[in-house]
């Protein structure tokens, strides 16, 4: 399978969207593009598994390389391993759902979809590129669409949030950039991830560049204390924007931390692992405690994202194969889950026109479908078995527990405590929103429309697919984690 | 005592700083222009002195001086034209009063 197609389809869709005349055409074009991409990524998944089953054990499959800037050794080097395939699957699910959730966007519809598709293109490109330069290109390409999506179609203090988000992400990528230069000059003037992974990068460089790269990507994935764009950004964004932000963009950071920072600089990773896990454990706990105090529904999910993404970094920082597998699973799981959560919040907000949870109540009565999904997603968030969150978190815990010293044990236990706090805030939110007596003014509310239902069902499928049968994801991801671990073992 | 390179250089540097000082302190645009001429003249003096005392076989310095003079003339011409136009707009050529563009 030619991976370039994964970038081209969104690109063509975006251009097509831009050329369309009326809103209906725009919507359907975007939907068609997103669906094609979904089918493509499912096909990629199948092709990948077939290739693996056929005994192809190369680290990356479907590789292709085209020189872009010869003098810099920059090339469009594409390829996927299990981890990237998982992330691509996640992206395509979220994109389709996001497109569907935006069906009612009236203001500048064309531009909205254009930016949305552009954003998704950034994510696809990011996950399949094996060249740091190209990777960085795709990382940054998504910043402006996010800014505009929040700033134009957002709500609340949207300008502030949009600015904050764009600037913090830009700051993050600035750090990434500097780290990348370290790799480039430390690793024989190459941006190629595969080449770099075969070169031993000087430990002195690693010590400087690992924190830069990790913190830089960490900004994207809400690493404490760089997470503050998350609550504001998520809550101000339009529904699809939040879905993309939390579901896809935050994953770019996690993926970068893993594939770039940890994989290419194992000595650095070992050196700084303690700091990483302390910070991420803080994010996990602190995020969940902060969530407990929020009153705005979107803030709740945003802070809980901080907490959940803390698990991703925790898994990466623990540096065991199981934990890293778990981290990737958590990325996928949280991506789908949080996208669905935002979708549900969007559905509710569109009807109640408030996001303050204490102004709502009893919506289960008038909106049974939406409220049921809300229950499911809440339970997924607090790690109910059978839904995706459980699988990922447990894998991380199992992996973390393999580190036997007291420090790692203490951190792990601290992180597990968040499952209780999560239960507290999720139940608080659900109890306020869906349960309890209903207000008179909400009695006439209608349940989700077809597009909303379809969107939520698509994401729900993702959640259930991971939650009920995690082995496929595990089989997909763990060989990739294994390769990363081999490098870390050497470094240890 | 014959004047040597040092003396001439001393004069030229003095001239340079007089020009600079004049440029910094005079309020009249024309006077400022004249201060610049002083700076340029100090340069000319430098060139000639170097030519005479250090590199008597290379005439670059002399030629350079001529070019500087020419350019200075052109510059003065344009500058005065500009100042005239400025005077039309501002009714003054006091540099302190011409500061609408700032910050």
């Amino acid at each position: 399978m030619n991976l370039l197609i994964l970038i081209l389809v969104p690109l063509i869709t975006a251009i097509a969207v831009f050329l369309m005349r009326n809103k209906e055409q725009v919507k359907w074009t975007a939907f068609a593009g997103a669906s094609i991409q979904l089918i493509l990524s499912l096909f990629l998944f199948k092709a990948f598994n077939d290739a693996r089953a056929a005994g192809n054990t190369a680290q990356m499959l479907f590789e292709q390389q085209t020189a872009l800037f010869k003098s810099w050794n920059i090339s469009l080097h594409l390829g996927v391993d299990g981890i990237s395939v998982a992330m691509i699957l996640l992206t395509s699910f979220v994109v389709v759902a996001g497109v569907l959730m935006s069906w009612k966007v009236e203001k500048m519809t064309k531009e909205f979809y254009f930016l949305l598709i552009l954003l998704s293109m950034g994510a696809y490109g990011f996950f399949i590129s094996l060249d740091l330069f190209v990777l960085f290109f795709f990382l940054e390409i998504a910043v402006i669409p996010k800014y505009l999506l929040i700033g134009i179609w957002g709500s609340g203090k949207k300008e502030y949030s949009a600015n904050k988000l764009a600037l913090m992400l830009m700051g993050g990528s600035a750090l990434v950039l500097v780290g990348m230069f370290g790799l480039y000059f430390g690793g024989g003037k190459s941006f190629d991830i595969i080449q770099l992974s075969n070169i031993h990068i000087p430990v002195a460089t690693q010590k400087i560049c690992f924190p830069l790269l990790f913190a830089g990507f960490g900004v994207f994935t809400a690493l404490f204390p760089f997470h503050t764009w998350t609550p504001d950004g998520h809550s101000s964004a339009p529904t699809a924007g939040s879905m993309f932000l939390a579901g896809i963009s935050m994953k770019l950071g996690g993926y970068g931390c893993l594939r770039v920072a940890t994989y290419l600089m194992p000595e650095g990773a070992v050196e700084y692992s303690n700091i990483v896990i302390v910070l991420s454990a803080i994010a996990v706990l602190y995020g969940s405690f902060a969530t407990m105090m929020q009153k705005d529904f979107k803030y709740i999910n945003a802070y809980s994202s901080v907490s959940h993404c803390g698990f991703v970094l925790l898994g990466i920082g623990m540096l065991t194969k199981v934990a890293i597998t778990g981290a990737v699973m958590q990325m996928v799981s949280h991506g789908v889950m949080t996208a669905l959560f935002f979708a549900v919040i969007g559905i509710i907000y569109e009807r109640t026109h408030t996001r303050q949870i204490d102004e709502m109540g009893g919506l289960l009565k008038v909106m049974p479908f939406t409220a049921t999904i809300l229950f499911v997603i809440g339970l997924c968030s607090l790690g109910l078995p059978g839904l995706s969150g459980f699988v990922a978190e447990m894998t991380i815990f199992m992996g973390s527990w393999e580190r036997t010293d007291m420090f790692h044990r203490a951190i792990t236990i601290a992180a597990t405590m968040s499952i209780v706090v999560t239960a507290v805030y999720i139940l608080r939110a659900i109890g306020q929103v869906a349960m309890g007596p209903i207000k008179a003014e909400y009695l006439h509310l209608t349940d989700a429309t077809w597009n909303e239902k379809l969107a939520t069902m698509i994401l729900l499928i993702g959640i259930l697919a991971i939650g009920l049968a995690p082995f496929w994801l595990n089989n997909l991801v763990s060989p990739g984690a294994e390769i990363i671990m081999q490098k870390i073992q050497l470094a240890k | 005592m014959n004047p040597g390179l040092t003396h001439i250089l001393f004069i030229s540097i003095a001239l340079f700083f007089i020009g600079v000082f004049g440029f910094f302190t005079r309020r009249n645009l024309i006077t400022m222009l004249m201060s610049i001429e002083l700076i340029l003249n100090s340069v000319n003096l430098n060139f000639i002195a170097f030519n005479k005392y250090v590199w008597p076989d290379k005439l670059t310095g002399l030629f350079f001086t001529i070019f500087v003079i020419v350019i200075a003339a052109a510059e003065a011409a344009v500058a005065i034209a500009i100042i005239i136009n400025l005077y039309r707009n501002y009714q003054t050529i006091d540099v302190e009063k011409v500061e609408e563009l700032k910050y």
Binding site: P225, M292, L384, P385, V391, M398, I413, I419 | -
Partner: protein, 644 residues
């Protein structure tokens, strides 16, 4: 070996019931949903009986020992070699017994609910939840993997949450459901860490391998687990204690019991199923499942189980004496009885005669399920009629509800341990086991069984005797056939289940255990029980003020007991005041003001600096020239003199 498909079907049918009712119930088959679910569950129950029958009497025994069979296993999530979550079925005596209990009680509740929940708007949803619960509970009992049990453990918790909060428009129900979930979740945290410890030290998650590795004296895993310690307690004991913490939470053991009384906000049949007969004994089941490890390798943890059980038993019994909400009385009684089961395990040893406590505990679990479900269903019938939970609104109902009255009486006699009802036999065995191994617990148990008799009959007399009932008009008291049938069936069970030779089937090591009947030993408890009944009769059979006087005399103590020793308040204080105010609020504040503040301060300072330095661009061309010259001089000084 049975065809594993049967056992899988036992799980899948309730799941199917859940899915069908959940997806189609609301719009398509609302009225038929009860019948469909009940039918599915009936088949399930038949299958369960079939499997249990087969296990106990046909294929389960090899050379006289009940085997642990694993007819089905599927690798669900493999962490590393040997450590994987498997979905499997582990068939052994307690599983078989639990299959029977769970499906039987669930079937009774399904049938009963046909009448009880009739006309409810979310009728189908109710059945869907019941299906989910039954599925999860069955999954829990057949689990072959410690992580599998944890998964179903959580699912059970969620179904309990959903059912308690079934009347979601009632704020108290919502609060109760949240409380139940969060408290058990907190306990599960311990369970989870326990699992992590055990699995790491044993290198496996599979029950059989785990137990084998952690009990055989020469295994390296056991040695390392015992050798390493934290705070003076061996790692293994930590693991077991934490696992027990999970069990204690689910089984409402002291001090994690606070959710159980509130859980009575759910529909009464649900209370019967979940909060009396099945889910709350999951903790006991868990301890029983890991019993060899407790008994052989970690006696300290087992001792703790015993103590916690004993304390809970007494504590709950005392509180039960003062409650006026009939469901709460039953809830505390449940807690007390589970305490019995727990300490029965706690005083037991592994194997042979010494393992009597284990058998007794399981036996009591079995009988208790029958009579406690009966009590709840009876109470449900009463509530259905009176439309109140408070015993002050009741009295003299024996005439309007004869069948309910009779069955309730049987159940009360059973729980009070009056021979020849079921409770008598199981309780006798427990007391015997306690007597042999731990005198302290024995005395507590004896006292508790006396109290049990007292508060049960207090309940009984208050409902059916006491003041005279003035029937409201033509209203017929009984709830119809579907509600009566389960009562009668369960009453039969409560009356006769004691005659089952339980020790033959269930014992700690799989070998049949012949339990003897010691007449002289039984005298004391029975007499104590009868005394309790008598006192209750004295106080409550007729309306009088004796009980009030006693309450007055015990003023402070009575109040404390009535308020459940203020445990709710303490917890509320810790969560609301301490956690919210001292952790949550500061975290939110910190985030808003410090972390966010730093980002904003960075922005604002940048702007402020840019405002400050604007005077450099003064608009004066002469100043520009000065800056220019100073730049030149600066550079010259810097690079000619300083930088070298």
């Amino acid at each position: 070996m049975p065809n594993p498909i049967y056992i899988i079907l036992i799980l899948l049918l309730p799941l199917a019931s859940f899915l069908i009712m959940g997806i189609f119930g609301r719009n398509h088959i609302k009225n038929a949903s009860g019948i469909i679910s009940t039918t599915l569950l009936f088949i399930t129950a038949c299958l369960a009986f079939y499997v249990a029958y087969g296990y106990f009497l046909e294929f389960g025994k090899v050379n006289g020992v009940y085997q642990k069979l694993i007819p089905f296993k599927l690798t669900w999530l493999e962490f590393s070699k040997g450590v994987s979550i498997d979905l499997g079925i582990l068939l052994d005596p307690i599983t078989a017994m639990m299959l029977v209990v769970v499906t039987l009680i669930s079937l009774m509740v399904h049938i009963y609910s046909l009448g009880y929940m009739k006309g409810e708007e979310r009728f189908s949803t109710y059945y869907a939840f019941l299906g989910l619960f039954t599925f999860s509970m069955l999954g829990l009992v057949v689990a072959s993997n410690i992580f599998q049990i944890y998964m179903f453990w959580e699912l059970v918790g969620v179904s309990s949450f959903l059912l308690i909060g079934f009347y979601f428009e009632k704020p108290s129900a919502v609060a109760a459901s949240k409380k139940a979930f969060i408290v058990t979740r907190f306990a599960d945290l311990g369970f989870l860490i326990g699992i992590l410890i055990l699995s790491f030290n044993a290198g496996t998650l599979d029950f059989q391998t785990l137990i084998q590795r952690l009990t055989s004296p020469e295994s390296a895993e056991l040695k390392s687990a015992v050798a390493s310690s934290f705070l003076g307690i061996s790692t293994l004991s930590w693991g077991m204690i934490l696992v027990f913490m999970g069990g204690a939470g689910k089984s409402a053991m002291f001090p994690l019991h606070i959710w159980l009384p509130d859980a009575m906000e759910g529909p009464t049949p649900v209370s019967a199923l979940i909060h009396a007969a099945t889910m709350v004994v999951a903790g006991v089941f868990l301890v029983a499942r890991l019993f060899p490890v407790f008994a052989i390798s970690s006696p300290h943890a087992l001792e703790m189980v015993g103590n916690v059980g004993a304390i809970s038993a007494l504590f709950a019994a005392v509180i039960a004496c003062t409650q006026t909400d009939i469901k709460r009385v039953l809830a505390f009684s449940t807690m007390s009885q589970i305490g019995f089961m727990m300490f029965a395990l706690g005083v037991s040893k592994y194997g042979g005669e010494e393992g009597l406590g284990y058998t007794a505990s399981m036996f009591h679990l079995f009988t208790h399920a029958l009579f406690k479900a009966l009590l709840f269903l009876g109470a449900g019938a009463v509530i259905h009629y009176v439309h109140s939970n408070d015993m002050k609104d009741m009295g003299g109902l024996r005439k309007v509800m004869p069948i309910t009255h009779l069955t309730f009486l049987i159940a009360c006699l059973a729980i009070a341990g009056v021979p020849p009802f079921a409770g008598f036999f199981s309780k006798e065995e427990i007391l015997l086991a306690a007597f042999h191994h731990n005198k302290m617990i024995y005395w507590i148990a004896l006292l508790t069984s006396g109290l049990t008799a007292f508060y049960m009959f207090r309940l009984y007399f208050n409902i059916f005797w006491n003041k005279e009932h003035h029937a409201h008009g033509e209203h017929h008291g009984e709830g119809g056939f579907v509600m009566m049938m389960p009562l009668v069936l369960l009453a039969a069970g409560a009356a006769f289940a004691g005659f089952i030779p339980f020790g033959k089937f269930v014992s700690s090591d799989g070998l049949p255990l012949e339990s003897e009947f010691h007449l002289q030993f039984s005298i004391v408890p029975v007499v104590l029980g009868l005394t309790g009944i008598f006192i209750a009769m004295l106080f409550y059979k007729k309306q009088n003020d004796k009980s009030d006087k006693i309450a007055l005399a015990l003023n402070g103590f009575y109040k404390a007991t009535y308020n459940k020793f203020y445990f709710d308040e303490i917890y509320l204080f810790i969560t609301k005041k301490i956690i919210f105010n001292f952790i949550g609020r500061p975290a939110a504040w910190f985030d808003k003001n410090i972390v966010d503040g730093m980002v904003n301060a960075f922005g604002n300072n940048t702007l402020a600096v840019s405002e400050k330095i604007k005077s450099f661009q003064s608009g004066k061309v002469q100043q520009y020239a000065i800056y220019f010259l100073s730049g030149v001089i600066g550079l010259a000084v810097l690079f000619i003199y300083l930088w070298k």
